[in-house]
Amino acid sequence: VSNHNLFVIIAAGQRCSLLPGVAELVERMGVEYVVCQDVYDAVGELATAEADRAVVVVGGFEELSREGMRLFEICRLRKQTRCCCIFGNGREMASGRFFTAIRAGVFLARGLDEFGRMVEQLAANEREVADLSKMLKKGGNGPAKSNVSMKQGGVLSRAEIEALLGAG
């Protein structure tokens, strides 16, 4: 399966323990990805990515939350962009910064499995949007508006936040 409209930016240096697992996972899913040394490099990639492309920025919370968590806000303001922090364990989640991240729409994944499910869902959405676009171009009678598009700005709903907090 090829997921050409989805692009994953992995913000992790070569020595980061997350890197091999995340890179292998997205490669297996047929998603294009790039490995960045740090959060600055990641923002550089994000800023130069095609505007209509769905992007996921993924990394550890410490790296992604540098510079007062500005990355989260930059992701929130860009269309079709999701930021995802992967936690090795739940301990960091107790901090106040964790709640700020949630409010900014960051997806918090406890491990690679959760991250993989999120990417899979986004990829499925993108495929459906692409199919609808093709259908509309051919003059079909598809719906004027897709009901499967990604949520604007990638912000979590209250129900999602509550579900996450409850699970934590």
């Binding site: 040394q37 959060v39 600055y40 550089g44 800023a47 510079e67 500005r70």
Partner: protein, 341 residues
């Protein structure tokens, strides 16, 4: 992203300038953002001619500047550093073994952005009694650069002058108060300097002073400041950079071990001062001639902030007192404040 509205301003066109960080003088006309992440995002979206990056106490990382360089499409990147950040700014400008610089230029703050570009003259920094130098700019003409050098360097020895050393010490003390830095002042002079002048002439005396400055520079770290205060008196400001201190804190050795217990002086300045004293005493100086002493000796005093003094004047006074004690007790030695015999 937080930014000021772009407006046309008289004179220079500042509409294509981006200022990153807090700069008091960034007035109307410039785009502005608070941190490097916003700067990278903005620079990738629109074209800027020049990007000014105000250096924070820690960072910006070379990686962040490299990314800014990559996405900004040829914009000139100029660092605005404080005096104690000059060595780091210089290193970012001239990276050893690299063909491209991370930044194009740097200025020492306070920096008047109004004076930048198109050969405009550098205005005297506001709120300071004496302007202290600015360096290395392709944008300023040679005359301005020469004037800056004259204002900050000692004409005879080529090292920093009294004005620069005192201003640097004032700024680094202020910084040390905020960031818990170690700052130590070494004040020294040449033993029996009059003898060299009287025996060999003033030309040789000048040579002695120049050699002392050069050798002291070799015995300390790049970011330490070596200056000639006047006559045969020199001063060195030793200090721990914020990033170095943070990087080593709690890693290799506890703070208690980094200081000599009874003196409260950091170990490194004592080591470097002693190394210099021994180096100059053992150097064979041909210009002193076969009939001369052949060697030079120095006496000096060390005073640390805040234990020995909390102001420039107090530190100089205490270091001077220690130096006089070194002279009184036989010369060719470095003494700490409060140390006797």
């Amino acid at each position: 992203m937080q930014r000021v509205e772009k407006t046309a301003s008289a004179g220079l066109d500042r509409r294509n300038w981006l200022v990153v960080g807090e700069l008091e003088a960034a007035k109307a006309g410039c785009s502005k953002c608070e941190n490097m992440l916003d700067a990278i995002a903005m620079a990738a979206q629109e074209r800027f001619d020049t990007i000014f990056v105000v250096m924070p106490s820690v960072g910006p990382a070379a990686g962040a500047l490299r990314t800014l360089r990559r996405v900004s499409g040829g914009a000139k990147i100029v660092l605005l550093a404080q005096m104690h950040q000059e060595a780091r700014a210089r290193a970012l400008m001239r990276r050893p073994g690299k063909t491209t610089n991370v930044v194009d230029d740097y200025f020492i703050r306070p920096f008047d952005i109004e004076s930048f570009g198109n050969g405009a003259k550098v205005a005297a920094p506001a709120g300071r009694e004496q302007p202290v130098g600015f360096v290395c700019s392709d944008y300023k003409d040679a005359t301005i650069r020469e004037l800056e050098k004259l204002a900050t360097h000692d004409d005879l020895t080529g090292i920093k002058n009294r004005r620069y050393v005192r201003e640097f010490l004032r700024q680094i003390i202020k910084q040390a108060g905020k960031e818990d830095l170690c700052v130590t002042l070494l004040y020294f002079d040449i033993d029996d300097f009059k003898h060299y002048n009287d025996t060999y002439g003033h030309g040789v005396g000048d040579n002695v002073l120049t050699q002392a400055g050069i050798m002291m520079g070799r015995c300390c770290r790049e970011h330490d400041v070596v200056g000639r205060i006047g006559g045969d008196e020199f001063a060195v400001v030793f200090w721990d950079r914020p990033d170095e201190k943070k990087a080593t804190a709690g890693k290799d050795e506890p703070e208690s071990e980094r200081r000599i217990t009874e003196s409260k002086h950091p170990r490194e300045p004592i080591f470097m001062a002693e190394r210099f004293r021994k180096a100059i005493a053992s150097a064979k100086l041909s210009f002193l001639g076969s009939g001369g002493k052949g060697t030079l000796t120095i006496s000096g005093g060390l005073a640390s902030f805040p234990e020995d003094g909390e102001t420039v004047e107090e530190l100089f006074a205490q270091a001077d007192k220690a130096m006089l004690e070194a002279k009184r007790t036989g010369k060719n030695k470095i003494m700490l404040v409060g140390q006797t015999g």
